[in-house]
């Protein structure tokens, strides 16, 4: 076992660090281009393109299809160096980490040739059209219908909570092709053009006031059969590829950390000193550090598996579960440490530009999106520990006969 870079990894890291320093986009003013604005997106697109041109985007994918031709370890090293430089490229994450891996695995050669390279360059953005008003955890209960019309398909239904759908070019869509089969068997995956007739994207406001996610209404959207990803009835297998990658991508994301908590505590007076010196705070800090290290290091273990050619396993569920709860607890603690002043969320007044306050209002979403805490625990219990599954009321039933709630 070693946590050190091998000589080759160290060399790769050094090269990547230099390259990032030389090519990094000049910082832009958050006032002119706040995160989420078109200006910010265009700014990050330039960075994505620069990476793609130098083999630093999707490093582990074959160069022939637009990737970097490298290894997962190299990707991780680059990610670390990118984060160190304070850069991230959220707009492209849904496409590159969630929607395109299933295209790589289950798609046709023509689909790979058409879609991978432009997405890697940041020229085209993707969204995930899985959840529906009636079902999120129970993804396989998707009701959106895909009905055969001539050589193609007609899509009717509604999707919801689709991150970035309003700025996406394409969407990966899970639809029901046969309601008479048991629910997992009747699903098929498609890609759709988000500007096609019948696609109506409506931004949905989150509890934090932002509107990153959307409702997507699909009303008689016509698809060619070559918009199908994988075989008819294979939609669930394609979806599972997506979900495994999604959790691997989520556990251990960005945002304020224990370091920021410590920086905050250094600003907060306490007796003759600052809170950072207070032993009770010290206990708290140690707890947060230990937890953060546990998912950082779990990430490295997952990476070691990946580099041996294995798939990200259920560890990803553990990492995401711990990370999202950690984020909520850390930001709640930061607010409490600052007392009633901690309620102030004006970035001009609050310490660290209100980073913790903003995080507190995002945290509940992190525990829900990409698999809720409860679903992740079920996965760990059933797939890792092999425990008996919950009695499933819908087992073996034709989809159309499954009991539905009133909501």
């Amino acid at each position: 076992m070693t946590f050190d870079d091998t000589p080759e990894q160290a060399a790769y890291r050094a090269t990547a660090r230099t390259w990032i320093a030389d090519h990094m986009p000049a910082p832009i003013d958050a006032a002119d281009a706040p995160i989420g604005s078109t200006e910010h997106l265009e700014h990050m697109r330039l960075w994505q393109r620069a990476k793609a041109e130098h083999g630093y985007a999707c490093i582990a994918w074959p160069a022939a299809i637009g990737g970097g031709g490298g290894t997962p370890i190299q990707q991780a090293i680059f990610d670390q160096e990118e984060a160190r430089a304070g850069l991230s490229s959220n707009y492209f994450m849904t496409g590159l980490k969630i929607c395109l891996p299933p295209l790589l695995k289950h798609g046709s050669d023509a689909q790979r040739a058409r879609f991978i390279a432009p997405a890697v360059r940041g020229d085209e953005i993707w969204c995930q059209l899985f959840s529906e008003p009636s079902n999120g955890s129970d993804l396989a209960a998707a009701r959106t219908r895909a009905v055969r019309v001539g050589d193609g398909w007609r899509i009717d239904g509604q999707k919801v909570w689709n991150s970035n759908a309003d700025r996406s070019d394409f969407g990966l869509l899970l639809a029901r092709t046969d309601p008479d089969l048991v629910k997992h068997a009747g699903l098929t995956m498609f890609w759709i053009d988000m500007r096609a007739p019948g696609v109506d994207v409506r931004p949905l406001r989150q509890m934090n006031g932002g509107a990153e996610f959307n409702e997507v209404y699909l009303d008689g959207v016509m698809l060619r059969d070559d918009q199908r990803v994988g075989d008819i009835g294979e939609g669930w297998a394609v979806a599972l590829t997506t979900l495994a990658n999604e959790r691997a991508a989520l556990g251990g994301g960005t945002g304020p950390t224990w370091r920021d908590l410590l920086a905050l505590a250094r600003l907060v007076p306490s007796g003759d000193s600052v809170l950072a010196d207070d032993p009770v705070f010290g206990q708290q800090l140690a707890g947060f550090y230990t937890e953060a290290e546990s998912f950082r290091l779990l990430g490295l273990r997952m990476l070691s598996k990946l580099s041996r050619g294995e798939q990200p396993g259920p560890e990803a569920s553990a990492a995401k579960l711990v990370w999202s709860n950690h984020v909520q607890a850390l930001s709640a603690a930061a607010v409490e440490l600052t007392g009633d002043y901690g309620m102030i969320d004006d970035p001009a007044l609050a310490p660290l530009a209100a980073a913790f306050q903003a995080r507190l209002m995002w945290a509940p979403g992190l525990r829900i999106g990409g698999g809720t805490d409860e679903i992740l625990r079920n996965i760990i219990a059933e797939r890792v520990l092999g425990l008996p599954a919950d009695a499933r009321a819908d087992k073996g039933m034709a989809f159309r006969d499954i009991p539905q709630g009133t909501r």
Binding site: Q206, M207, L275, G339, Y341, L349, R407
Partner: protein
């Protein structure tokens, strides 16, 4: 022994719940949240005054109903559950109790009747910056009876007529009552995580003040005032936490996943049971504090600390799990879940966060068991 609300308090609470429901208190909270510059539900506030509720625990000599602290607690529970956007906490639990505790007879006679009728609004202005209460000495100063300096965040500071301010003096920190409509006062609203309990920054430039209690005892008095303030705040938290529990139960019973209601999964059932248990534990502690406020000074502070710690924890747990148990829809602006999440944070930080109370409680326990 009868560890429960008395008949008359129950009647008051029933009445309050009906009125707050009928007036759509939670919708009013949402309006305040969504409307820039909107500070409170003015009609509802007038109505609470007309009902006599602002004076429920103010003695009858000063225009109140002279009921026990438990009656105030009962009302607080209803206000907390309904999220009513009114300056009741600042004015009644905070300002009125401060004047009743530390004010002179002249101040009580001058101020309490107007507060009891709801005609005037008061608040507490202790905080200036980040930290636990009183961790840093105040920089606001009183010299020759005039106040200079800044206080923020001051809850309901944009609409209050009076404030009790903690300020430095040559003789040590003191409490002072100040009229906020004085021309030397500048108010600016400050954005917080819970705009339904809006806050302001108050700048004072040469504003006349009157001392409240002995100057030099400011910090000790302010701590006693926070202790009084904390009791009804604990009941607000419990009311809010109970509302969260009811919403979570109602939603999960009708939301289906994998062919059955999600409330039927043990993971969900146990979470709901945990919310219930925390709420009832907090309620027990809170009852003791409300009773002790009038009857047992020796245990009042420790009972209040326990009530506050348990209530803050219960509300935070209930509010965050309320969102969780709703899934994606719980994270939307449209659903009311986040109003409780915001309010739970506000109540946990107003009157000192739980860690500060833990430290105070530990001091008490060391003395008791010395």
């Amino acid at each position: 022994m009868n560890v429960d609300y008395d008949e008359d308090v129950r009647a008051l609470m029933d009445h309050a719940r009906k009125l707050l429901d009928a007036r759509g208190a939670i919708d009013a909270a949402r309006r305040v949240l969504e409307t820039a510059g909107d500070t409170h539900a003015t009609g509802l506030w007038r109505e609470l005054g007309a009902q006599g509720w602002c004076g429920v625990a103010i003695d009858d000599a000063h225009g109140g109903l002279g009921m026990a602290s438990v009656a105030l607690a009962g009302l607080a529970e209803e206000l907390g559950r309904s999220l009513a956007p009114v300056p009741f906490a600042s004015s009644i639990y905070g300002f009125a109790q401060a004047i009743a505790l530390a004010g002179s007879e002249t101040q009580r006679a001058a101020l309490l009747p107007e507060i009891a009728s709801g005609a005037l609004i008061g608040t507490l202005a202790f905080t200036e910056g980040p930290g636990t209460p009183f961790a840093a000495p105040p920089t606001a100063r009183v010299e020759r009876g005039r106040l200079h300096g800044t206080k923020q965040p001051v809850t309901d500071g944009a609409i209050a007529d009076w404030a009790v301010v903690l300020a430095a003096t040559a003789d040590g920190p003191g409490l002072f009552v100040v009229g906020l409509n004085d021309p030397g006062v500048t108010r600016r609203s400050v954005s917080t995580l819970d705009p339904t309990r809006p806050a302001a920054r108050l700048d004072f430039a040469d504003v006349p003040v009157e001392p409240v209690g002995r100057t030099g005892d400011g910090v000790a008095l302010a701590a006693q005032i926070l202790t009084r303030y904390a009791v009804p705040l604990a009941f607000e938290a419990i009311g809010g936490a109970d509302a969260c529990l009811e919403m979570a139960v109602a939603y999960t019973r009708t939301r289906f996943a994998f062919g059955r209601p999600v409330a039927g999964y043990q993971a969900v059932k146990h979470r709901l049971a945990d919310i219930y248990v925390k709420n009832e534990m907090a309620r027990s502690n809170a009852y003791y504090a409300a009773w002790a406020a009038d009857h047992d000074p020796a245990v009042f502070e420790s009972a209040t600390a326990a009530a506050r710690i348990a209530a803050c924890e219960a509300y935070w747990f209930a509010a965050k799990e309320l969102i969780q148990l709703h899934g994606g829809i719980g994270f939307t602006w449209e659903m009311d879940c986040h109003l409780f999440y915001r309010r739970a944070r506000h109540l946990s930080t107003a009157a000192g966060a739980p860690d500060w109370w833990r430290a105070r409680l530990a001091d008490q326990l060391r003395q008791v068991a010395a």
